[in-house]
Amino acid sequence: DTWISTQKKIHSQLSLPVYPLQENRQFGSKMTDSKYFTTTKKGEIFELKAELNSDKKEKKKEAVKKVIASMTVGKDVSALFPDVVNCMQTDNLELKKLVYLYLMNYAKSQPDMAIMAVNTFVKDCEDPNPLIRALAVRTMGCIRVDKITEYLCEPLRKCLKDEDPYVRKTAAVCVAKLHDINAQLVEDQGFLDTLKDLISDSNPMVVANAVAALSEIAESHPNSNLLDLNPQTINKLLTALNECTEWGQIFILDCLANYTPRDDRESQSICERVTPRLSHANSAVVLSAVKVLMKFMEMLPKDLDYYGTLLKKLAPPLVTLLSAEPELQYVALRNINLIVQRRPEILKHEMKVFFVKYNDPIYVKLEKLDIMIRLASQANIAQVLAELKEYATEVDVDFVRKAVRAIGRCAIKVEQSAERCVSTLLDLIQTKVNYVVQEAIVVIKDIFRKYPNKYESVIATLCENLDSLDEPEARAAMIWIVGEYAERIDNADELLESFLEGFHDESTQVQLQLLTAIVKLFLKKPTETQELVQQVLSLATQDSDNPDLRDRGYIYWRLLSTDPVAAKEVVLAEKPLISEETDLIEPTLLEELICHIGTLASVYHKPPSAFVEGSRGVQHKRLPGSAGSGESVESPDPGAAATETPPAVIPSQGDLLGDLLNLDLTPTTTTGPPPPTTSGMQMGAMDLLSGGLDSLMGDESEPLGGDIGGNPAMGAAFGAAPATMPASFNAPGSGGLDDLFDLGGGVGMPMGALNPPKAVWLPAMKAKGLEISGVFVRRAGVIQMEMTLTNKAMSVMTDFAIQFNRNSFGLAPAGPLQILTPLSPNQSIEPLNNLQVAVKNNIDVFYFSCQYPISMLFVEDGKMERQVFLATWKDIPNDNESQFQIKDCHLNSDAASNKLQSSNIFTIAKRTVEGQDMLYQSMKLTNGIWVLAELRVQAGNPNYTVSSISLKCRAPEVSQCVFQNYEAVLKN
């Protein structure tokens, strides 16, 4: 054992420079390769040909170097193929490598000649020198010529069993290469099994490469069950993990991340063996380890001590990633953004490491800012605000804007800080820096939404800056504020009038806001502003060709002229508060992205299917544990599979989203005979839609409907198809810029009937310009899904088609509705009445989901016989009974009964007990499920506000929905 000497001694030793330079660093200052790049004279190819065929070895080598140099600068030297291949037989390793390099580049363009090289390859694969054997098998795999691959099989088989691990690890990768060229061949030759055997190889590098190759192959064959991971193989991988190179560790960790442990104990033991990797110097190893831990942690019980330990262990390595190179920092930050959304507790004390440094690259600054807001809490808000204020005075415009926006987000997120945030924003407005002022006004609008009637004192300051606002978003925000608080702003009318002058030059956003604001003003101060409101209504309806603006204008106009009191209720209705957290990633996507930590998907915050070609069919990754519900959905539903349902509409495998993604949405449009519309064919309505629209869009440019304002639904029923899809299309490009096509005149639809308002189901920004809003209604015994499809893009959309994903009540477009789909259990995450829809046009397929009121499913013959009711009530076990309270219901039992009847809830009997009316009711769902109800209403006391209800049903899952429907009907 040797012990450290004293410091004094050390320094006397170290005063001399002790580190000599390595000799082999001083490459070729005299003789460099650059000379090969200089010859560009005529007849070069000819000369090279002669040199390549020279007898002198040195000359040959020089010539090959020249050829490679030409290749490197992009010259075509493929004409020299036979001559170069002739040089392949050499004992000079450098020359051999160059020839191989040449082959990789040109073999594809000269497949016939490439065969010439095969013999040498086969021979080299048996060379006594393992370097040559490996080189040959490595290069052969890179020659992507079909004809060569069959010759490759025998050498590859030998190399996979080679005595030298260097050759074996190279051969393992070669299997993946070969699979990429000819998958069938690889399977037929049994290479996959050999590759699986290599997982048990004694050499860790071979194991790592085998794992990498298998993972790569499995990725392109998601169903092949190639990586048949079980506790034994996992154990082998974990052993190799300790011994292989940093890259091998990444392959193994990424592979482990695909495994789902059987129980929490296995999960914990894997985590314990993976955590040491968090101390690896390579950031990529750390991130891959974090991925495994984040995934397996899901399975650990939260009260487990180890769970807490693991959480604590994750924070330091994540923080250290921020000292890596900027690009790696960026990847780390994008991933931390996901991690703090999934498990905020990990980094909640680490706020200050995300403070922005002056010399951080802009992409790092913006990401840090985002994470700062996510971590902001009452405990650290003072520090955060001080920082944000600092950033807001920087010079980089994008960064400054984001900083100002961040202050607003803090105000909304941390209520205690709101006041401080508002005053900070006011300070920033005082700087008069144009974009700072505008950004501040936009966020103050949001703060008003969150805390109404609290900070209105600042309005005066805001109004002072009215003139400097030139961005639509800021103008719209300011106008909204003036309209919303019109009663407190003395000169609100003047302010709004000033915007009105250039009405037609404003962007739509501002125009819409101005219209609404002036209507609000009128409703608040009707006497002085009559002229103003008339002016804006006429600007919006008569002088504008923007359909949204016109529609809104007409709606207000009608509303104001028919019933000003109702108008007031509608326009000045209380608005819902905005939510605290914005920009949150939708939970299922977040789960998927957590499974992809470290990859491009985690950087883009998009699922791989969104940017990788051919990955549509690939299963979306889910976190374990929480994915329990997903698994139960996956189990094929025997009822659905057996019924008459065409498989194209209700696939029997894969998770729900997966189903949608796999659907073939090609409409049967122009080819073949037009399908009969009344034959009950599943796709009838859709065919009509897609076929009919093309022609309509092409030659019409005037509104067909004409009856603007009469019926906001503007529906059109197509033929006799049970599900109608009224649609209005706005197709720029044909005729005027913003021509509105109002399709159909509402055939078979009671015009002016009470129609619930449509909700936006698919915003345009998510669907490349296609906006879909809709509503469900039940009319004359038919469920109708009314949709408005609006083209907000620049080009015409065609080839529309629609499909529904498998859903609880078997809704399908224009199909027979009596599909008996038993309710599968455990669908609690998604509401039962959730409908996943896919709409396709010429651009892409878009997916969205919407909820339909369950009352739509109540059929007209839902009235049970008294005797049957009694028997059924007794027959249904008490476990299936649910009790609910309905508050604030002011109806007596008769009124309630009438109201309910209109939505197909039938009263069978009524009795009065101790001043309480008991109504016995029944309803039947489209799929044959009966729901029985006992509704208790306090008789004789219309002011008594609580009723209660018991629901009994063989499928108790629906009870919640039914109750909500009761509540909705009775309170309406």
Binding site: L14, F27, D33, D164, N209, T245, A281, V319, L600
Partner: protein, 416 residues
């Protein structure tokens, strides 16, 4: 690629991305740069470009899969490291001068998109500039390529067996304009220069004050390492179980471990600056620097860099020690103090003229930055207690150790 995006050398590992796609890179880069939204990942259609810049070169990788992005960037930086080891400088010329070796290296570093052997010391054993002449049976795969010990070759011999240990601590500090320390930490690194024969087993012992994070005993005058990162050679599972740092060292220079310490440290050199800007006439700068470390220690090569407006002119300086110099291309005054003893305080005043017609461009608020090094001393108090060296031949070996503390990212925000 060169700075103007001319491809110098390329290698298509998987054949799934057309090599012509690289032509999209420059326009994409320019577009993002113009919009001020530069990003390390750019994409065009289904092709994604992940790139880094080294001196005047772009290293770009293309993919059309959901690749492991952190692996790609780590690998790109590894390439820079390997090429620099081989060619001393990685630049346009060194690539052209050595294109044959570059091709060979690219072939060995990665196969079908999977990084393979990336340790330059090992690579240098079988990929050499001269082009090894093949004599059957002589040229062999170094066992290191596939060994569990993939970082050290067998048969290394030294006449005198020595190992040099450098403990280097960098102080990162961010101080707000009002003088409060926003964040500070220590990033430490233990570097080795190993000149030992054979296959030695080493064990490093640190002083008791150093506790590694999560032992839960962080009381009193202990230093808690927040996060420790080790070289591939350190047995991580052993460290995880009993905190022993045991390893077979790579030959020559290497970084054995790095650590981060979060404890609040007093900024070793404290700067107070007053920058007064009188529009259209002048800027007056007063900087006070104070050494807040032990009197026995001395900070060497101290540089205090103070930002000045880009349109400032006619500088005048006054310093109590050292020299101040105006560096107009960086818009700063650099005040250099060769030797700065602990506990001392120095002053610098600067005066600049400003043009009467003012620069309209908005300028950022660059911070004051400080550079220094203090030898024979670590802020954290970490010390090497022992280094056990055991080799089967039983030779005696000498470990040497030295300590140095230096500035890392050391920023003090200003109010102008």
């Amino acid at each position: 690629m060169t700075g103007s995006c001319k491809v110098l050398i390329c290698r298509n590992y998987k054949g799934d991305v057309d090599m012509a796609e690289i032509d999209r890179f420059l326009p994409l880069l320019m577009q993002h740069e113009e919009e001020g939204l530069l990003c390390p990942v750019l994409s065009h259609g289904k092709v994604h470009f992940m790139w880094i810049k080294h001196s005047n070169l772009y290293l770009v990788s293309t993919t059309n899969k959901n690749s492991n992005a952190s692996l790609v960037y780590s690998f790109l930086y590894k390439i820079v490291e390997v090429f620099t080891e081989y060619f001393k400088e990685l630049e346009e010329e060194s690539i052209q001068d050595n294109f044959v070796v570059v091709y060979e290296l690219l072939d060995e570093l990665m196969d079908f998109g999977f990084p393979q052997t990336t340790d330059s010391k090992i690579l240098q054993e079988y990929i050499t500039q001269e082009g090894a002449k093949l004599e059957v049976g002589k040229s062999k795969v170094p066992t290191t390529v596939t060994n569990a010990v993939s970082w050290r070759s067998e048969g290394i011999k030294y006449k005198k067996n020595e190992v040099f240990i450098d403990v280097i601590e960098s102080i990162n500090v961010l101080v707000n304009a009002n003088g409060s320390v926003m964040s500070s930490d220590i990033v430490g690194s233990i570097k080795l220069k190993t000149m030992l024969s054979g296959m030695p087993e080493l064990r490093l012992g640190l002083n008791d004050r150093v506790l590694f994070g999560l032992t839960g005993r962080d009381k009193g005058k202990t230093v808690v390492m927040e996060d420790v990162k080790f070289h591939q050679c350190v047995r991580l599972s052993r460290f995880d179980s009993d905190r022993t740092i045991s390893f077979i060292p790579p030959d020559g220079e290497s970084e054995l471990m790095s650590y981060r310490i979060n404890t609040h440290v007093k900024p070793l050199i404290w700067i107070e600056s007053v920058i007064e800007k009188f529009s259209h006439s002048r800027v007056e700068i007063m900087v006070k620097a104070k050494g807040q470390f032990k009197k026995q220690s001395v900070a060497n090569n101290v540089e205090v860099r103070v930002p000045v407006p880009s349109d400032a002119d006619s500088p005048k300086f006054k310093t109590s020690t050292g020299q101040a110099k105006y560096v107009p291309e960086k818009n700063m005054v650099v005040w250099t103090i060769k030797s700065f003893p602990g506990g001392k305080e120095f002053l610098m005043r600067a005066h600049f003229g400003l043009p009467s017609v003012e620069n309209n461009e908005l300028e950022g608020k660059p911070p004051v930055t400080v550079k220094f090094e203090i030898p024979y001393f670590t802020v954290s108090g970490i010390q090497v207690r022992y280094m056990k060296i055991i080799e089967k031949s039983g030779y005696q070996a000498l470990p040497w150790v030295r300590y140095i503390t230096q500035s890392g990212d050391y920023q003090l925000r200003t109010n102008v």
